[in-house]
Point group: D2
Chain length 363, copies 4
């Protein structure tokens, strides 16, 4: 179903930008997981608006409330529902959008598809919808962390024309969170922040690229032929607002190599089979091979800009859309936590699928 | 389930490279569709090995047999099963692989996941598995063609370092099929074919990029928030063997633009709302907007090369993998029809989902 | 997933008897449906405790709050989440159950399955979980009513040994609601109420049978071979707490007839094909035939009784369970609205599936 | 999807009564299971026509062919496809049915739903479709047998008015197979066979009841709140042709008991928690409790009878359907193996789901 994600660890999200609430229910959460609201809140705080001077000034504490599924500090295997109330909704600020389609937003397509749309701040198409994903992702991360020390770390590598140098280590959370750009290379981060501020000053916006790395994933996750691990990661990432591309391992530039350069030789280290290079990005034949999973996601420049733009009305009349208020001039730094959340959801789901097929029976 | 794809027009494929057969069953095929085996065969012929001098010499007619679901030349709404027998299987040629993991193949990961693998030609991980996809895709294309004149055209834009110039029109099937590279720009195609032959002569392999365009898709297909049209396309493409990347519309290079450059202005032409540019690639907010759908898929260089390679055995001992026989030095030209098939499957599925939600009831 | 029901009109419920809340999210609700909280509340009021002197005295207003998915009084095609807060929770009343398994309840099996359970009032296994179903069912009924005048009417035919005479007309809602037993035959209803009171006076409980009839369903709903309409109805009913049996049309007693007596002859009335009898119960070959759908559901006597019972502790020690407070001596009258809700959910789902397969394309 | 069953051990069946073949593909079959065609054939032989003098004389060896998924005698975790060719198809025998709707068959409803139908022998609605279920069920039984000694035994308890005495032991396969009625009580079986022959002699048909018992199922299978074990069993059974009812444990007659009589007391035997009675039928709160699972399924009398019957044509004209040839005067004895197959499919699926949720992670 369109608002559900996952086969066995399945989340369903609800909520609109300026409706009463956003939320999520997790169906299939394993029992006995120790869990506290504060752990979910920590990830929501990394996602929430107003966290730095390069994000939207919308004021939302995004406080999570658990509605079900916990008993004495542990999950019970029953649905875990989590709710966040919208606080700083200003539906009246969106009156113009009732009749006017914002360019490169979802206004036109939602109207074409459903015959109705909640135009207030984009309604369901707002990135505010990702709150439910992040809340569920926090639970998934906790599971992965306890289950096998799996670590997921996303960070920003490109903002507009500014590119960070290649990172030769697995960055710490502190390194990523050290600056508002969430780029672990400090000098580049400063330039990125500058570029974002510059775009905002021009009433414009910029995009960029997020890289995500995962370590500690055992070999064996991924379900060929259709639910390959990279296929589900690609779907997860392209399901995020504003994404335009996904690549894993060598990606698009890998097409410039020959097979003899691209193949990852197998080697044995400490009795464990590894590859000596990682063009595969941690996945071979759709299944994790135990190496670091590495992929990148392209985010387009924010469609909302502070400039008047020519467009059309719902009635098909040419008109001009006026510049308006609160928004992010660049969504990429805040997207980091959302990329991590979706990654965690994919991994927990595949972990459970692997257990179902390969641990239910012993022959 | 791992070997099924689609929600309402759902295919399930089976079969291994050197087992008895490969096949597919379509569950959810609409009734009353006129259909003949020859129509499916036409697409299988475009996919089959040995079709040109730059593909593998394995000899397979890949003749399809309908097993069910047809009555007097029309579908009945019941499952449509299609079977292709493997003819030129040579399992003995793969004896070495029983114990040895080929670099950047699925040998190691299948063994790690399932504890057993059919090593003969890669078994299920072989690209031969895509026969079922292409057969089902041919049915989906027929539906789209009859339903609304939807046309899907994939073609090769890059092989290794050779890039075709941007294409400013929707290419005809004849243009794509005019050469073995399936690149509609003839002079570039010649260079691509030369590069592939060169790689083969070196015992090496090359990769490349396929672009796919779709025209005639009405506005309204795509199911936010998770089953966005681009998300399902991304999953479909990354579920194909040897793919490493997907991008739609402006893709990764779109991150170099500012919002004011990237936004697609709405205009009205002949009373219909269009966009005057197409950075969105035909999808906005996860839903088709009626413009041409444009995306690209990166294929890595073939992992099988005619060179000895260091690797390890299943027991974790270093060894050398010997060069061996039949394979494609470049899978990209044959992948064109597979990309089209997967695209058709996604579109029919979303078309049916759109009908379910928006045509079942009128309020 | 275990807490989701439906393929296209899919509900996911959450919540425990004595946790913070119970609720439901509908994914796939068609857009443009006019809907008000009061319409959902009406069905919740028919389900809620304390509505008559033969139900549990637990005090719950069961007030529903819409969390998302509505815009200016209409659905938008986005998830519709609904929340009911638990008010009269008394977790302390259940201290004994922490260690003791109540006979014929879910205490033992939840502990065996999950290794943890919310023992307070049965937690998730409480019939309180059905609030989400009834709320979603109210939306489904509204859809069916607007879509084609479909009417669903369940009522009580048996309580313990008391059987109502066969009903030869489609009862009105008023007839069903005329008494606390929800049996449209008044004199029988009086005896049923008396039997329930008698059971309560004895500290005992009784079960019974609910019949459900649906009229106005067009021919064509049901998805053979597995998702036959009667199969999905059977699953829906057996998914309800305390149910032990389902039969459609002639049911178990139909096995006493011969084929020549059991077959429903086709006739034409007013140019429409009908059957002159209805042993089939409105479904043939798994698909509705346009006749009245008729089925029956068996509910066991309530497992909670006001008598001491021998049982065992979680540690496997024999013990005695003490009689305790609030409960229904007979769940059957309140189950009527729940049976109607599940029926509505099945029908809307199949209606949408039928549209997907048979209305998406015209050949 | 309509022709798929199961969440993790998912089968998809195809095929029509007089088309080229019937078959099934299992997606999700665990790897490493030792399996031979002969094991599947054994169950198909119990199902096939012509096995005794009270079944249809249609001549079908129903020989199964494995199409994929096996390697050196073991499953590989890849799709297992199995094919049975139709041999004794006589489509010409069904010419009359092209225009005429047989009473209480699926002719009218398939036509109403799909706008087309394969009228030859009922096409997809024929019980011949169950071959794929039985083949897959044989695989599931093998799994259950190896995994934990689970035994599934169905048998006939009622044919028309003839009822077998209650069975106080778990019958052996030999006892069930000892006679053509598949009733383990010999004297009753003789009467049943006589009744079936009598019905055939009259050109009529009879129905009956199958009971199914399962022992060795561990506590913990079943996925509340919707995928309760009894709910999935009910769906499985009502998805079979000719079924009209399902009841588990005390079933419909359990409604005549009071709670104090109906509750199953817990006791400890050999350190294991059991119930001293089994009104629950082995399932409490939707989850297996380790006791014997016991349920019953009602089968209506065969709709095909050797008598002329008034009916209507597809054009809505009154007509008479003529008596015709080959059919079973009673499907109940052959249904026994089909009931067992569906039961096995449900149990393996739930076993895998249980492993996914409760064995993937340890906290």
């Amino acid at each position: 179903m369109p608002n559900s994600f996952g086969q066995l660890f399945r989340i369903t999200t609800w909520g609109e930008s300026h409706g009463p609430s956003v939320g999520v229910v997790i169906d299939g959460c394993p029992p006995l997981l120790p869990l506290a609201e504060a752990e979910v809140q920590a990830d929501l705080d990394r996602r929430r608006p107003g966290q730095s001077d390069i994000t939207t000034p919308r004021k939302e504490a995004d406080t999570v409330e658990f509605l079900s599924g916990l008993f004495e500090g542990r999950t019970t295997g029953q649905p875990l529902a989590m709710l966040v109330r919208n606080a700083d909704a200003r539906p009246e600020a969106y009156a113009e959008m009732r009749e006017t389609f914002r360019p490169s937003h979802a206004d036109f397509t939602y109207q074409a598809k459903y015959g109705i749309r909640d135009h207030r701040g984009g309604g369901r198409s707002s990135a505010r919808e990702t709150i439910g994903r992040v809340a569920a992702g926090a639970v998934a991360r906790k599971i992965l962390s306890l289950a096998g020390g799996v670590e997921i770390r996303a960070f920003v590598t490109h903002i507009h024309h500014i590119a960070a140098p290649s990172l030769h280590h697995f960055p710490t959370l502190a390194e990523v969170e050290a600056n508002a750009a969430r780029c672990p290379h400090g000098p580049t981060a400063e330039k990125m922040i500058e570029a974002i501020k510059q775009a905002r000053a021009e009433g414009d916006s910029v995009g960029g690229i997020v890289e995500c790395r995962v370590r500690g994933v055992p070999a064996g996750l991924g379900e060929p032929v259709f639910d390959r691990l990279e296929a589900d990661l690609a779907k997860a990432m392209l399901s995020l607002p504003a994404t335009k591309g996904f690549e894993i391992g060598s990606g698009f530039t890998g097409t410039l190599l020959k097979g003899s350069q691209h193949n990852d030789p197998f080697v044995v280290r400490d009795g464990v089979i590894h590859t000596s290079t990682n063009k595969s990005g941690g996945v071979q034949g759709g299944i994790s091979n135990g190496e670091e999973i590495v992929f990148r996601v392209a985010f387009k420049p924010t469609a909302t800009i502070l400039r008047n733009q020519p467009t059309v009305t719902a009635a098909g009349e040419p008109t001009e859309l006026h510049a308006r208020g609160r928004h992010d001039p660049c969504v990429v730094p805040r997207a980091v936590v959302i990329v991590e959340a979706m990654t965690a959801l994919v991994l927990v789901d595949h972990w459970m699928r692997q257990a179902a097929q390969n641990r239910a029976f012993k022959f």
